[in-house]
Point group: C2
């Protein structure tokens, strides 16, 4: 029988995260203090994050040891399986060899706990009792709730009100793991109360939820703030995915010609490709292609400007150099909520600016078509975010069919779509629509980028 799954024994699970910073061909542009305009220092970030994470943000070390307590938690679902997609290949009649690294077997169902668990651990270790965060559709909030429950931390999640009402299951997951989840705007913060006074029916936004979580964190001694993507330390924690995948590809006696993944803030895809891109940087694998896939309606890498911008709508974060559609840009309501972000992880942006990455934008309907094809062959019903990567994987496999090339494609499969079936229903019943790229709105948002001297 053909081998479809590559297990990695727990004794072979990576014990260190891989840090790309010292291997970058050019150093990453600094993060700037929004008031002073110069580079932020670790002390600037201390009210929000534990010092261990801040140090990881700037670390010059290639490998950073995963604390034993974090390894222990990882070991309840890691190493995750690398699959060979024979059924999909057969349905496409392609000579391409498709592998996918599947993160959906984690308790919250995605890659997010790889960093949530680590962040909860470091906060606990530095005496923090409570973490505040924001969440949109709920993937991140449920993962942090999970991480906090394991380390005995309180967790307060500000969930964008429209999602809070429309997607109760993610909220119920957070409750099950003992977290408190409130609809944002909430009466619990000044930012929330101000908004409620202005508009009691305000549906909320990720920007506002960030403001509430940050206010919560800075106003309480026992509380820190936590972010689920974009930052260097978050990408660092996700590199366990790529390191595992690398070993598993070796077990399969294969090396990818193309790696494909979806990008919102970028942490999942960077997690898989960073350990591989080192081979491209060093010239060991100069032809390795890495394709970042984003929604046509929120095309950060393909249409954004490479400039300093805020990470949030409310301009409370430091300034990050990134491809951005403007921090005021509110993307259309595509179902891939995790990809609705105006910016992108600085590490990914830097690598893209250096010409080491490719980017592709795809329309929503085509992603669901791909997701259904995947579900009817490989079985897994994937998250709408992941369907973006599946779309391009199928496209590349079909190109192989045309050309007769037996390329090896590695797909970063970020998670299942068990809580996204309403979106599948909309697609299957013909009610799902594509959103045009909102060019005018982006132009307007880009006109309001912060001035950096």
């Amino acid at each position: 029988m053909k081998r479809t799954m590559y297990f990695l024994e727990q004794k072979d699970m990576p014990t260190h995260w891989y840090n790309i910073l010292p291997d970058l061909p050019e150093p990453l542009p600094p993060v700037l203090h929004p008031g002073r305009g110069d580079a932020v220092t670790p002390d600037d970030l201390a009210p929000l994050f534990p010092m261990a994470l801040i140090m990881q943000e700037f670390s010059p070390d290639s490998y950073i040891e995963i604390p034993e307590e974090v390894q222990e938690v990882y070991s309840t679902w890691r190493p995750t399986v690398l699959h060979r997609a024979y059924a999909l290949e057969k349905s496409l009649d392609t000579p391409a060899k498709i592998y996918y690294k599947y993160e959906g077997t984690s308790p919250p169902g995605s890659h997010k706990p790889n960093t949530a668990v680590a962040q909860a651990y470091y906060n606990k270790k530095e005496g923090i009792k409570r973490i505040a965060t924001e969440t949109g559709a709920g993937q991140w909030g449920s993962s942090l709730a999970y991480g906090c429950s394991l380390f005995g931390l309180e967790c307060k999640v500000y969930m964008v009100k429209i999602s809070y009402n429309q997607k109760p299951y993610r909220r119920l997951m957070m409750n099950t793991w003992g977290a408190t989840c409130v609809a944002s705007p909430s009466p619990d913060t000044k930012a929330g109360r101000d908004m409620l006074a202005k508009d009691p029916d305000c549906p909320g936004s990720l920007g506002l939820a960030i403001s509430e979580a940050v206010e919560d964190a800075v106003s309480r001694e026992d509380t820190h703030y936590s972010l689920g993507s974009v930052l260097n330390h978050v990408l660092l924690h996700q590199t366990i995915i790529g390191q595992e995948a690398m070993t598993q590809m070796e077990m399969a006696d294969a090396y990818p010609d193309i790696i494909v993944g979806c990008i919102g803030g970028g942490s999942n895809f960077a997690g898989i490709f960073l350990p591989f891109i080192k081979d491209k940087i060093t010239g060991k694998k100069p032809d390795l292609r890495i394709i970042n896939v984003e929604p046509e309606s929120c095309p950060t890498l393909t249409k954004g400007l490479y400039a300093y911008d805020f990470g949030d709508v409310a301009c409370m974060t430091p300034l990050l150099k990134m491809f951005t559609l403007g921090h005021e840009f509110i993307p259309p309501p595509v179902h891939a909520g995790g990809l609705r972000y105006h910016g992108m992880a600085p590490i990914i942006c830097h690598l893209h600016a250096l010409g080491l990455l490719e980017a592709r934008a795809v329309p929503q309907l085509a992603t669901f078509e791909a997701g259904v094809q995947f579900a009817r062959t490989e079985g897994i019903i994937s998250a709408p975010e992941t369907n973006h990567a599946i779309r391009v994987t199928i496209d590349e496999a079909l190109k192989c069919k045309e050309s007769g090339e037996a390329k090896t494609i590695l797909l970063a499969h970020s998670g299942h779509g068990h809580f996204d079936l309403a979106a599948y229903d909309a697609y299957l019943s013909g009610k799902l629509e594509d959103y045009k790229y909102p060019e005018e709105k982006v132009k307007e948002a880009l006109a309001h980028l912060p001035k950096v001297s």
Copy 2:
């Protein structure tokens, strides 16, 4: 680091199902034809099932080869992982060693596809184009939809109307895998139309949905019927779980003192314990304890009568000798929909009557308390059905704490609870209630058992 997961390489996946029939200490009582009163013949069952499955129902062979095509599909998620529950053990401060075999990583999220895939395969092989079935909460319907999609069969699922309306996600899963799912009673069958004429607002019942599916199957040449539990061939297909678990326990250098699982129709739990019970029957492991857990409100093994009864409310099935609460008994609406069945797999009933099994009934609230404890330690949010088994696992581990015994407990973990979070919400918000055992209703139902000469 402690080893928490035991992977089994795909080359070591069982190639045969284990058939308990020839190893039973006494032969299984025959299945009776409801009209004639004598034993059913294979021909009696031919309008409903493919001959290969009918032959398995009566097979004298200890091992039956798993067709290569079925092994191939299994291999997209099997072998499943055996976990060591260190985190749960630690939270209980128990010397007990708890292992759990987790079936929630299959595409539909439970053990059900182990038989759905096999049934779809055999039907396809015998030229059948379409399968009709019923489903309550949707676990079985979604698994058969998945199996049919892989083998290119049409699938029609009659889903109890109240569940169809209350639990849309399982229905959407079926649609995603290409199945047609209608609310039962439906206008598509005479049984459905008759009921709708009598009561247009009828909420449906499993008994009525069975009637619709059977009528659909017998009235069309191209269509067969399919059942997701109870029958011998269904239990047979599930023995892949127990065989894998046995090898994995050996890898852990362990053998269970106690095996715990929940029972509705019984196929999941039998799937894990049948390969082990052979050791008890042969005297190799005379002290092995096997605890069947059922809801206090539907206590088939603990309070039922061992007698011939129909498998369905509408009296359309052959007569099975089983522990039963009476085919007219409608259990209270506990959230563990998969355990709301008046009867039980004849193989389990026979083994219980022979004194080889234990049974325990637990109240609903206590099962959710156990489920939340499991979620906050092991991470997995379990199905309400599984929470019954987790309850007794924890109880047995706490007994070990009292006695100081380091017993080895193997928990049959049948699946995740991603679509049951509303039940967790009810529990966490104090709205969930226990249901008293409806003694009077059972007495009444038992008064209407069929007469068997």
